[in-house]
């Protein structure tokens, strides 16, 4: 059949564009992130095309919506490759959809470079074609836990709460941090999981508050979870000395809008990238984003950088292999070559994890909603002084 011939031609026809297919959740549970990812992919394609394309070929993106459903993403990948004859596919949003998508792509011999499927289950599924440009999430909280544990005894908190959504992205993160912090003598006073589909967080937040932990580690996948916890904490007059959430505070303007600028002061989040990154490519991307969508550097969603990095890694692979032969691209990405992205260095191990990715902790500081800075690792000279203990709510 002729359907897969696009994959085997490393030499594209002269003047033919490089067509990249992406299934994203434009409706349903993941649509907020899906739409941010779409912006990031578009930004990258526009930049590449402005610079004359790749190997002289224009980049064209084809988006289809999967409505946040696993069977739809599987159908979409087949549709993109076999019917729309795209040359490459990029990843969908969330670890949940990444596995079915990557399996479908793998049967066509296609690579799947992605930026939002970092759960350990993605890398243990036996896939050879998945490459996650973003940090492997299991150790994301390590810099934070190390920093908290290294504080002088007089400042070091004595109690901590670990509360996480029932999700493959968040659940693996907390035990790693808990181990480090317990070793430093920080007592665990609350350690519970809540269902991912819950909407009323008040009773859970109240229970956390009643345990009076000095540090709260929240395993969240989105903004509403974090904002609900923060609101409930404020209501019950509870203010921890430090609070970190696995995702949400990295969503820039969307986060500020939900929690209010003043309340963001002191809130932390682990990630490998932030809007204030000093990398030249990142600064350029952020400037372009602001030109197009408004706002400021602190307000740029980390999803944008994750999607943009996917594009950058694909571009380097296309240029290095001289075309869009997916077999060559997979081989190239597995070769241990060091690549660059707006999120920093990229180098894949056998499972497709980017083990070059550095993990930082970022913190919102002040009440202006413009200061989102790197605070960990403390050994990094670029890290700013953390706001600690966390100021009172709304102050």
């Amino acid at each position: 059949m002729a359907t897969t011939s696009g994959a085997s031609s490393s030499g594209l026809a002269k003047g033919a564009p490089i067509n990249i297919g992406i299934s994203l959740s434009l409706s349903g549970d993941f649509s907020a992130d899906g739409i941010a990812f779409q912006q990031g992919y578009r930004l990258w394609a526009a930049d590449v095309n402005r610079a004359g394309g790749l190997l002289g070929h224009k980049v064209v993106l084809t988006f289809v919506s999967d409505a946040s459903k696993a069977d739809q993403v599987q159908t979409n990948i087949q549709n993109l490759i076999a019917v729309k004859h795209v040359n490459l596919v990029f990843g969908p949003f969330s670890s949940l959809l990444t596995i079915p998508a990557a399996k479908a792509a793998s049967r066509f011999g296609y690579s799947m470079i992605e930026g939002a499927g970092g759960a350990p289950s993605v890398f243990s599924a036996g896939l050879h074609n998945v490459f996650d440009v973003t940090l492997p999430i299991a150790n994301a909280l390590v810099p934070f836990a190390t920093w908290i544990s290294s504080l002088p005894k007089s400042q070091r908190p004595t109690t901590a709460a670990y509360v996480t959504s029932n999700d493959p992205f968040t659940q693996p993160q907390l035990p790693v941090a808990q181990k480090i912090m317990e070793k430093a003598g920080i007592k665990t006073v609350y350690n519970k999981v809540f269902p991912s589909e819950v909407t009323d967080f008040t009773p859970i937040a109240d229970a956390v508050a009643a345990a009076k932990p000095q540090v709260v580690l929240l395993g969240s996948v989105d903004v509403p979870t974090v904002s609900s916890f923060m609101q409930a904490f404020e209501q019950s007059g509870f203010n921890p000395k430090a609070m970190i959430a696995t995702a949400g505070p990295d969503q820039g303007a969307a986060f500020l809008k939900a929690v209010g600028k003043a309340n963001a002061d002191g809130i932390m989040v682990p990630n490998s990238w932030y809007g204030g990154s000093a990398l030249p490519a990142s600064r350029k991307m952020v400037a372009e984003y602001i030109k197009q969508y408004g706002g400021n550097a602190a307000g740029v969603n980390a999803d944008i950088a994750e999607a943009y990095s996917v594009g950058q890694v694909a571009a380097q692979a296309i240029v290095a292999t001289g075309g869009v032969d997916n077999a060559k691209i997979i081989k190239y990405l597995h070769s241990g070559v060091l690549m660059k992205s707006v999120e920093g260095n990229v180098k894949f191990n056998n499972a497709g994890q980017n083990f070059q990715s550095l993990t930082y902790t970022f913190q919102w500081q002040g009440t202006s909603g413009t200061k989102f800075v790197q605070i960990n690792p403390t050994s990094d000279p670029k890290s700013a002084k953390p706001v600690y203990p966390k100021p009172a709510w709304g102050k």
Binding site: A32, V198, T199, Q235, G237
Partner: protein
């Protein structure tokens, strides 16, 4: 685990539960009078929340003042839904068909809300939303207390209407038996339309409180409707008092289980309670009609 945590859970259960009770009362009233299961109740709560949101963000109208606009608006929405769609349902499949029709209606509303307000989650904001006061170490969020008071006022008003007015007599007659009510000269059609309107109107108040205590978007409605259905079945379908008691006790049980044991089991706990109660009492706590036990 300490006493404060348990007290907190009990407080949350009662305060939040009363708002659920209000929303569920609307649902059970509709069922009792018309044999209609309105699965659009969940999305109507969200619609109510979005209306409050639009009024407060775009026109700067206070959330509570806004209720003077949103409650009548949703009453009209209810009347329109009843007249256009529900009035056509007849025959033995009426209840089952009503689930389908109201589900389709809820899809329409959900699609519209997604387009108008986008899928980004929002929460109602006001200066008093995060305020609280403390009694004996237990914090009371202002908005929760306000929700409790409002639910109590509205439910009392509903009871007053049912038991102290002529219209209430017609409603109670229709609740007991539609055919006999029609025979004694009650305009059952008019009663049905108004009851549907009232049943929907309470979602405006419920939605305002829900929207200021939870971040929401249109798809939040699925969690809501599954809770509300559970509540009215537990209370006994068509029983107003049952809906109230079940509303408060279900949220209460869920919150206590979440605190004592784990939040992951709190959602499950009220479904389990429901199944267990129905095994003992198939008609629910206050259900009137006897169940078929064969």
């Amino acid at each position: 685990m300490n006493a404060i945590a348990l007290l907190n859970a009990a407080k949350d259960g009662i305060l939040t539960g009363s708002v659920y009770a209000l929303m569920a009362t609307g649902l059970t009233l509709i069922f009792g009078v018309m044999d209609i299961i309105n699965v659009a109740q969940g999305i109507l709560v969200i619609l109510g929340a979005y209306l409050s949101y639009a009024l407060s963000v775009h026109l700067g109208i206070d959330l509570f003042v806004g209720l003077l606009i949103t409650i009548p608006t949703l009453f009209v929405v209810g009347v329109v839904i009843e007249r256009v769609f529900m009035a056509r349902l007849k025959g033995p499949e009426k209840t089952a068909m009503s689930i389908l029709v109201t589900y389709a209606v809820s899809l329409l509303i959900e699609g519209t809300l997604n387009t108008v307000f986008s899928v980004n989650v929002v929460q109602l904001q006001a200066s008093y939303v995060t305020r609280s006061f403390s009694i004996g170490g237990v914090h009371f969020g202002f908005i929760y207390v306000a929700g409790f008071v409002m639910a109590a006022v509205l439910l009392s008003a509903l009871y007053f209407m049912l038991y102290r007015t002529r219209f209430g007599v017609s409603v109670r007659a229709s609740l007991a038996d539609q055919t006999s009510a029609a025979l004694v000269g009650i305009d059952v059609r008019r009663v049905s339309t108004i009851c549907f309107g009232i049943g929907v109107a309470v979602t405006a108040a419920g939605g305002m409180i829900y929207g200021s205590t939870n971040a929401f978007n249109a798809s939040t409605s699925y969690d809501l409707i599954s809770r509300l259905l559970t509540i009215i079945v537990l209370g006994g379908m068509g029983s107003l008092g049952g809906a109230m008691l079940a509303g408060v006790s279900m949220v209460f049980i869920g919150d206590v289980v979440g605190t004592v044991w784990s939040p992951v089991w709190s959602t499950m706990s009220y479904f389990v309670v429901l199944v267990v109660v129905l095994l003992v009492r198939p008609q629910g706590l206050f259900g009137k009609q006897s169940a078929r036990v064969a």
